[in-house]
């Protein structure tokens, strides 16, 4: 049995990031509520941010943190616009179920 390392192996952080990303994909695919789908997108962005910060630590550079910062900014802008779109969809159709928003299909 290998000795317990004094610290956390980097692969643990990357594995956690992968697990969170896959959970986000699962919610994105399986959920039907448009707000929950949107939250799962935020979850995926967070998972990717974790690996950015991990790589910043590995290379001892600050660029990973800057990328995380930009991802956060874009995610905030995306949340504002996306929630406005959700409000508009709800106003026009009075539903939050993404199965019922299928005008492009018909």
């Amino acid at each position: 049995m290998p000795p317990i390392p004094n610290g956390v192996p980097e692969s643990f952080y990357l594995a956690l990031s992968a697990v969170l990303f896959v959970i986000g994909v699962a919610g994105f695919v399986f959920r039907r509520n448009i707000i929950t789908v949107f939250m799962c997108i935020e979850l995926m962005l967070n998972a990717v941010n974790l690996s950015f910060v991990t790589f910043a630590n590995q290379h001892k550079q600050v660029e990973g943190h800057l990328f995380t910062f930009f991802v956060m900014v874009v995610a905030a802008a995306e949340a504002a616009v996306g929630l406005a779109i959700i409000l508009t969809v709800f106003k026009n159709r009075t539903t939050l179920n993404i199965d019922e928003v299928d005008s492009l299909k018909n």
Partner: protein, 167 residues
Amino acid sequence: MGDLLFFGIFALVAVLCAINVVVQKHPISSAISLVGVMASLAVLYLMLGGEFIAMAQIIVYAGAVMVLFVFVIMLLNAGVEVRRGRSWTATILGAPALLGLLGVLACLLARWFPNSPVIKFGDFAGGGARQVGYALFTEYLLPFEVTSVLILIAILGAVVLARKELD
């Protein structure tokens, strides 16, 4: 040893909250669980030496973005999700496809980083507000300024989309 213990606790909290985001029926429960994920990720950022990013995570994500989500959930009076029958392909192939995706990710990570270094708390101090701010305002000044334009456009877009139609 302490590092591993802290990582284990907060990784477990993050994964459990993330699963809770997906399985909860009511969107407000999902939102609260997502705040839990973001808070535990902020702790992990601190362990990785990203002090500025950890604080930005708490303030921007767990604060601003999630408050926006909760407002919209309350505004739309979103209730419990209606379950309808889904196609048999989704029922049968959904979980194996996701596990396959996880396997592919794990394989790639194991191949690209075969002997990953051990990260100790405190061995990287380049993620403070001073270093991040210096890099933002010298080398990455143009992206930073473009970001402010992006935010402005997003504000205008949100206002235009969500306003009431004037008759």
